[in-house]
Symmetry: C2
Subunit: 212 residues, 2 copies
Amino acid sequence: MDQKVISSAVIKRLPRYHRYLGDLLENGIERISSNELSERMNVTASQIRQDLNNFGGFGQQGYGYNVEYLYREIAKILGIDRQNSMIIIGGGHFGQTLANYGNFETRGFVTKAIFDVSEERIGQTVRGIMTHSMDELESWLAENPVEIAVLTIPKQAAQDVADRLVACGVKAIWNFAHLDLKVPRDVVVENVHLSESLMQLSYRIAAKEEKK
Amino acid sequence: MDQKVISSAVIKRLPRYHRYLGDLLENGIERISSNELSERMNVTASQIRQDLNNFGGFGQQGYGYNVEYLYREIAKILGIDRQNSMIIIGGGHFGQTLANYGNFETRGFVTKAIFDVSEERIGQTVRGIMTHSMDELESWLAENPVEIAVLTIPKQAAQDVADRLVACGVKAIWNFAHLDLKVPRDVVVENVHLSESLMQLSYRIAAKEEKK
DNA sequence: TAGATTGTTAATCGATTAACAATC
DNA sequence: TAGATTGTTAATCGATTAACAATC
């Protein structure tokens, strides 16, 4: 079964389509043309149609796209139509913030546990989510398989922990540690490097000033 | 003075170059060729040379690049060779986490104040950073101009606050609220949409499973 | 000087946009 | 049926890679 590979440029845009369709749905708009959506989103209608047609023909000639139907289809494509279990490794400020952030759950991402090395944090709960010792990681995962591990630990510890997670069969890592993890090809890593984002912002400020 | 526009693909890669050069520097490595760096970073040597030559010739034929010199030059390009002042709008979990995160300061990003609407948070400090009332935003900014405002507030409030920040002369917004801000063309917005990042991760898990 | 490696031009590849026939 | 708008092919644009002359 030969599967067309979707470019990451397309994948990056899908959540934004999903968000705009959700807004339309909330406003009670039933149908939309690629042209009108393109104006709202500030992209070309051509790109919208090309992007969607990577996954199938969701529209209808002369009518456009049914908002609710397309919304649900994109949710399916993104895999947010079902539950994804997560654990958070690192119960510091960042880990706790993510655990507290209820919005992920509305998209099916449910945090099952937090793991930390600090004696003070172990045994504490955040929004009802228990913090376990890192020593229990392997035994806990053996009983409670999860799809996603969130890494909010210092970069020095990150590769070791990633290795342990992979050994436990975790298939995806949402990595907030500022390094490039080495994992087997079948493990998915999505990086969030906040300081790199901030540096891009800083570049654009600097570039603007220079232009003057 | 016609300024070459640098593509965002290039800009996204600059912080990563900077990070790898920093690591090399820490390991006492003085010089590196584009070829060796390309192997470490898993990109092509051609891309590294093309990227760098957007900004100038930093290397030397037959020798390669001086690690420390290139590290500093990229820092200059990124605008992290000088101090950037920030304020955080929204003193909730996320805002506090960012205020607590000392690593930004090592790259010149210094948080000067936090603003919030909650009576309980106003007057509290986070790592010595004072939380002010949102009512004081305009008067405070008039006395303490900053380059960057960080938005960690619910999306319902975000556009209004962005408008106020722009009116106060803030030139850059690091936006964690899950919406597309409308700002004048000369104001820089850098978005961090965590839920979109998580959805991309989820897509890749789903796509892997389908392939089986 | 000879060898190494850059800076830069040319070739290729992929992504975006335009155009239009198909069709609701 | 006529008008609207998709799905899809073709054209364009931009980014990446390859090649090599310049030069340290």
